[in-house]
């Protein structure tokens, strides 16, 4: 075995070896010791639904006390040929039905299973296994994919919005497949990642964008490579008990996704689903008309000139003449004076660019799958196509996906299987967010409305630093293709009745190709004699895991134990080539460029882990779970490479106690508690602990090197301690269920880019400094209001999270400077000049003078509001009558503030003159003594419009959204049977149908940047679209 150590990847080989040993042993034993089968009985049975009397396929039937297991076929039939003598006890289990133990003495036999109305027996996916809901000790939310699929989004994560307490999902732009802000139980980190860990069929998937070519803000979301149609269920693991088994990556919670699989002994089922729809921006910005713009600018000039004269006379100097002539005056009025006359206000035209930039987008989705299985094999094969046009032009999204899941029993002891997602996502992109060059929305929104699209000679007019909108709409040429393979291969061995060994090999491979070309009509093209960029990025995350799972029941004691190891590696390499100076617009490949530059880079990290979990349950009454994980990461210095993450959870099903047994009203009552520690290392540089010099600091095309970061050999894991107490209560035979959780998360050793004095030559060092807390409440209420022919059920969830930066050595300014992180306050606190009021006498803005020195300057920037909501949640109503079903889903966010940076630009008080559009709120400016308004007098002097940022642009971002309404109809069975169909459902659905908010912009659910330190910052992002679609789901 020593040779392994000298090989390139000793670790992998060692794991492989381990696998072979463990696999080989039982096989060998089986081969040697199994005697010729002794047949003592043959049992033939049928399993039916006790209520409907329909046969039940896929029911797992086992003989108590031995390992022999079979499943029912498509007709609910099963057969046992066994050495056991009748009578013996059978144990039957099937998802959605109560487990049944029955003594069978004759063959054939019919067994009836009762459907469970209670969720208590639902199987819940947890880390490295499953549990029934009643046995959970941790805080876990599950979302069935069918519940949320009606919302036509490119990314499944968006469909989770408002569906689980403690989960905050906020879309950042209205572009399909773009980045999102997702938090489970608050923000725990400043500079490490705050994204949850995503595990799809046991594969750790990358959720960080590989995008290199900027779209000026939000990056493409790699999670949109996964088709929502392939997903069976989503489980959100929240507290330490649920997440600690994932150790170092679990501090932000874990989202476990299970994809669809076939069932044993079921006839092939063909499912077709399709929808088509349209998307439209429900509201755009309200800009002033051309004449209004002109009036405002003239007023600005008049006021400024008056101020100049007043100031000069006070100082005894000659007044500045800058504002003497109004810009909007007759063309013959002082034609040579500066500024040049632009014509009278009433002669100005209004050019609507916004409605030109937006469109009604077409949405299409088609999915087909075939699934089924016999007693040894299950399969699921699916393919899908999703096409979405964004409401903002030139942003298109197209995903083709292919899925294969197979499970195969080799014999009664060994099972192998595989899960595969293969997708290609193609996008045409546009520059959307910040920055004027090439920015479609910027050009449409910020170009003053009085300025024409075209010059008199027909050439495109370019104004105010922006590209011409027409040019951009016709010439933007940016696209990206993501090729993704998420694949898992596992082998499972039932070594004894109680002991299962599993090995799992996974890969998440993503190749990401990007291209942009700016031709000679665009500003970027002009600046560079055309500009072309091509980028190829590859990311491979491989994982190998082994687990040994032990379960044993003796009397009232149920024991479970799990041990395992995990090895993971990630390699990212990127190659980028850029060309400028092209012969002409026909040449778009970089090979044609006269000047080319290129770069290639590679980065990698490894992670090695060991974990263990112990479960104990006494009589279905007392539950205890202990788990621990040890993670070693190559990102940290040798001193702190390993982190240890333990947790403990307890649950007490009070209902099982004698004193509650007879209380009929209460159908279940459970108290849960857990505590534990999880870690975080995501989002930091792969070599963050080293003192490094980097290349690329070239001069005259000679290579140059400069220091890139300071060493921090003590760098270590960020760790989050979390305590959780939960109560699950079911009343009136489970018609009303309540689930509440209280938690306290405390993150210490924050991975923080601690700002350093620039005089050291470094702006920051990544260090463990600072502490952050998140305390919160979650409540989920489900009720079955009507349960007859007319069914009505309601689900309501609400969560509150209080975030606080407990310790921070120095305030840190966020990527967008209106937000700061300061000890004692929450993340995403806005720091601005606080405008108290506009003086009705003078029309001047009065700001809070925080240091009471009579001067308003940067010392008077104070915290005003916060972008984190006080509450958020959702309300779902499901109604059905006969074949009809109706879903109405609201989600809400309350108490968050948004910095409306668009309006900061659009309400410049005339200071930006011809360089920015203005919005209608600017018309509310103070004009005469006595005016009560918050929009100060227009002038170039004083501080009315020169301070930035100010509280004028901080707005309430609370909203209530009618997120989805879906009306469906299941065609009558006998009607469709003629067409050899099993079920047909047709539906019509609408999303984002209604929005209540006080926010002035189109939508408060917006964010300019994918930077983790920025939230609630509205700048140049298109709003969430309103969609309508019709669709059908058909199974054969």
């Amino acid at each position: 075995m020593e040779i392994f150590l000298h090989k390139k990847k000793p670790f992998l080989l060692a794991s492989l070896f381990l696998l072979l040993v463990v696999l080989a042993v039982p096989l060998k034993i089986l081969a040697q010791v199994e005697p010729p089968p002794l047949i003592n009985s043959k049992l033939v049975g049928t399993v039916i639904d006790s209520l409907t009397k329909q046969p039940l396929p896929g029911v797992v039937v086992r003989i108590k006390g031995v390992t022999h297991v079979v499943s029912t076929d498509g007709d609910g039939k099963f057969t046992f040929v066994t050495g056991q003598k009748l009578p013996y006890t059978l144990i039957l289990s099937s998802i959605g039905f109560e487990n049944k133990e029955i003594v069978v003495s004759t063959s054939p036999t019919i067994i009836r299973l009762k459907e469970v109305n209670s969720q208590l027996n639902d199987v819940v996916v947890v880390g490295y296994g499953t549990q029934t809901r009643k046995s959970l000790t941790g805080s876990v939310s599950t979302i069935a994919a069918d519940e949320v699929r009606a919302k036509p989004t490119a990314t499944f994560a968006e469909q989770l919005q408002g569906k689980a307490p403690g989960l905050q999902v906020s879309t950042s732009t209205g572009v399909p497949g773009d980045g999102m802000f997702i938090r489970i139980r608050g923000t725990t980190s400043i500079n490490a990642s705050n994204d949850p860990l995503y595990v799809i069929d046991g594969v750790y998937v990358n959720s960080g964008s590989l995008q290199r070519i900027t779209t000026q803000g939000q990056a493409n979301n790699p999670l949109s490579d996964i088709s929502p149609d392939d997903i069976e269920s989503v489980t959100v693991l929240k507290d330490a008990d649920a997440t600690a088994i994932y150790g170092a990556r679990a501090a932000n919670g874990v989202i476990v996704i299970t994809t669809k699989r076939g069932k044993y002994n079921t006839a092939p089922k063909v499912s077709l689903s399709a929808y088509v729809g349209v998307a439209k921006a429900p509201k755009l910005w309200d800009l002033v008309t051309g004449p209004q713009h002109a009036e405002l600018i003239n007023e600005f000039y008049r006021n400024s000139n008056a101020d100049a004269i007043a100031i000069a006379s006070a100082n005894g100097t000659t007044p500045a003449t800058t504002y003497r002539f109004l810009p909007f005056r007759a063309l013959t009025d002082n034609p040579t004076a500066s500024p040049a006359p632009r014509g009278l206000p009433q002669d100005q035209n209004t050019y609507d660019r916004l409605n030109k930039a937006f469109r009604t987008g077409l949405l299409q989705n088609y999915d087909i799958s075939v699934s089924g299985g016999n007693d040894k094999t299950t399969y699921y094969i699916g393919g899908g196509l999703n096409k979405q046009e964004a409401t903002l032009k030139t942003n298109d999204f197209r995903r083709g996906s292919f899925k294969v899941n197979i499970d195969q029993k080799i014999n009664d002891y060994v099972k192998i299987g595989t899960s595969n997602i293969l997708t290609q996502t193609y996008r045409t992109n546009a520059r959307v967010g910040d920055g004027p060059q090439g920015g479609i929305l910027q050009s449409a929104l910020h170009t003053p409305t009085y300025l024409p699209e075209f010059n008199a000679d027909g050439t495109p007019g370019k104004w105010a630093g922006f590209d011409n909108l027409d040019v951009l709409l016709n010439n933007t040429n940016m696209n990206s293709t993501s090729n993704r393979l998420i694949s898992n291969l596992y082998g499972e061995v039932n070594m004894t009745k109680d002991l299962t060994f599993k090995t799992s090999w996974s890969v998440d491979y993503n190749q990401y190709n990007e291209f942009q070309y700016w031709n000679s009509l665009t500003n970027l093209g002009i600046a560079n004699k055309n500009l072309g960029t091509s980028s190829v990025s590859n990311n491979t995350i491989w994982t190998n895991e082994q687990t040994l799972n032990y379960n044993h029941v003796t009397g009232k004691h149920t024991f479970g134990a799990l041990i395992g190891n995990s090895l993971q590696g990630s390699i990212t390499n990127q190659t980028l080539a850029q060309g400028t100076n092209f012969p002409n617009d026909s040449f778009q490949q970089i090979a044609s460029a006269a000047n080319t530059t290129s770069s290639a880079s590679e980065s990698k990290y490894n992670l090695s882990s060991f974990f263990a979990r112990l479960n104990y349950n006494y009589g279905g009454k007392y539950y205890a779970v202990f788990s621990i994980r040890a993670d070693g990461s190559s990102r940290f210095g040798a001193n702190h490479q390993w982190g240890y993450f333990p947790s403990a959870g307890l649950a007490w099903r009070i209902k099982q106690e004698n004193f509650l047994k007879d209380v009929v009203v209460i159908s279940d009552l459970k108290l849960r508690g857990s505590i534990g520690v999880t870690g975080n290392q995501n989002g930091i540089n792969d070599f963050a602990s080293r003192g490094l010099w980097g290349a690329g600091a070239n001069y005259q095309n000679n290579p140059g090197t400069v220091p890139s970061q300071l060493a921090n050999p003590d760098l270590k894991w960020e760790s989050t301690r979390q305590a959780n107490i939960g109560l699950d209560l079911s009343l009136f035979k489970d018609r009303l269920t309540l689930s509440g959780d209280v938690y306290n998360k405390y993150t210490s050793n924050l991975l923080l880019n601690l700002p350093l004095a620039s005089s050291k030559g470094f702006s920051s060092i990544l260090t463990n400094a600072g502490e952050m807390s998140n305390k919160g409440l979650e409540l989920n209420i489900s009720s079955v209001n009507l349960d007859g022919a007319f069914k009505w059920s309601t689900n309501f969830n609400i969560s509150r999270n209080i975030n606080k930066i407990e310790k921070l050595p120095t305030p840190v300014v966020a990527a967008y400077a209106a937000e700061r992180m300061v000890q004692g306050l929450s993340m995403y606190t806005f720091y601005v000049y606080n405008q108290l009021y506009v003086d009705p006498q003078t029309g001047n803005a009065v700001y809070e003078d925080a240091d009471h020195n009579g001067i308003i300057n940067s010392n008077d920037i104070v915290p005003v509001g916060n972008a984190l909501p006080k509450f958020n949640g959702g309300l779902t109503n499901n109604l059905s009558y006969k074949g009809f079903d109706l879903l109405v889903f609201f989600n809400f966010v309350y108490g968050n503030k948004v910095y409306n940076n668009n309006n900061y630009f659009l309400e410049g008080g005339g200071t930006r003159d011809a360089n920015r559009a203005m919005d209608i709120y600017q018309l509310d400016r103070w004009q005469k003594t006595g005016d009560i308004t918050n929009m100060p007098r227009l002038t170039a002097y004083g501080q009315n419009y020169t301070l930035s940022p100010t509280s004028r642009n901080i707005e309430d971002g609370s909203f209530l959204r009618l997120s989805n309404v879906t009306l469906g109809y299941n065609l009558p069975k006998d009607f469709i049977k003629k067409a050899r169909m099993n079920s047909v459902r047709i539906y019509a659905s609408g999303s984002n149908l209604w929005l209540w908010t006080k926010y002035k912009g189109p939508d408060p659910e917006i964010n300019v940047s994918s930077s983790a330190t920025v939230l609630g910052y509205d700048l140049g992002t298109p709003p969430v679209p309103r969609t309508f679609q019709i669709g059908a789901n058909i199974t054969f």
């Binding site: 075995m1 150590l5 500003n523 002009i526 792969d686 090197t705 940067s858």
Partner: protein, 453 residues
Amino acid sequence: MKKVTYIFAVILLFTSCKKFLEVQPQLQVDQDQAIINAGTAATAANGLFNLLAANSYYGSNFPALSYLSAGDIQWSGSQSDPNEITKHLTSATNGYVQSAWTAIYKTISQANYIIDKVPTVSDPLLTTTLKNQYLGEAYFVRALAYFDLARGWGGVQLILKPTNTASDNSDIPRSSLADTYAQVLKDLNAAETLVPATVSRNRVTLKTVQALKARFYLYQKNWALAEQFATSVINDNANYSLVAPYSAFFANNAVTTNESVFELAYTTSNTNGHSNWWLPPALGGRREWSPNDALVALLNNPAIGGNRNTLIAQTAPPGNLWYGKLYYRNPLGTDPAYVIRIAELYLIRSEARAQQNNLIGANSAQTDLNAVRSRAGLGTTTAATLSEILLALEKERQVEFPFEADRWFNLVRTDRAQTVLALPDKHLYLFPIPYNETLVDRQLAGANRNPGY
């Protein structure tokens, strides 16, 4: 047996873990491998010029602080940072001030590494000549950086040792303005003995050092030495001369003309931001700022601007917007940054001679001023008295260097800024200590800040 094998396998996993978790970077090298031989010393020296030329320093940010402050440039864009500067409302949170400050200290830090490490390298390929060149360049660049800090922010913290750990160079108090300038001189003297005597306009030679010394002594009002060092560069007229017409030093993609004593070079892979800020959208820029009406009038006045009107141009109708076109090259951002031009040395010497009462006649203040005027296609100056000549020099600089880091610092140096620009208070002579620095460094906080901000 099974258990034993399993345990053994687990042990095996543990033992090979250490290696598994050792991953080496391929894009970067460890700090202690940064300067160890001739090759790495050369790349570190290139890195030094890259930092000096960085966008936040001479690439555009630092010159912008000067020309935006000088009263001749108007804000015509949308960012609040340049707006504040043009209106002399610069706040401590101003992003331009912060970036320039950071970039200057980064440059100093790189020079400190070179000064610290290069002498210790023993590599036969690193000859004494090369060693001296790198060291001399580092001393010169550090001198220039402290000079820029001194004229922008006053006396500053003198960081002279490299930062190897986060705790290095902590809690260093601000030096006085005199001590800061003393350090500049010390570094210039060190550089003078080390740099080569060849001609290079993109790197540092003896003439580069002498030119900065001339400027240094002018700021120090040491007129004799200012004249002496200016003369030693001007006299090398085979290599340094006023190119005519004025536009010859920048138009038609000219680089490293005889006009330039020190200019920083840019390539398509290492660009600067000037043209983006100056050029109108039709030419691929954003015209964030532009020459104001007064400057346009001056440059277009044949008796004042002369052929320097080539610095500006107007967009097509109906816009008719004036823009600066000193930085215009395509691909965008490849324009050189002009750090010291020979014209400045003439004007330095003119002022130094005037102050030494050498006003008119041969080799006088007038001669030098006329040299610059004549190149611009203007007649001789009528200024003859000291005050007339000083005023004439002030006005000449206004139109000779409107888009370079010149006029503002000279108005402050001569204490004329308040009068000429109608500033409400002299605290505006210094830029604010960046707000972020005041948060993390108590030596820059509270009373250690620049007053008035």
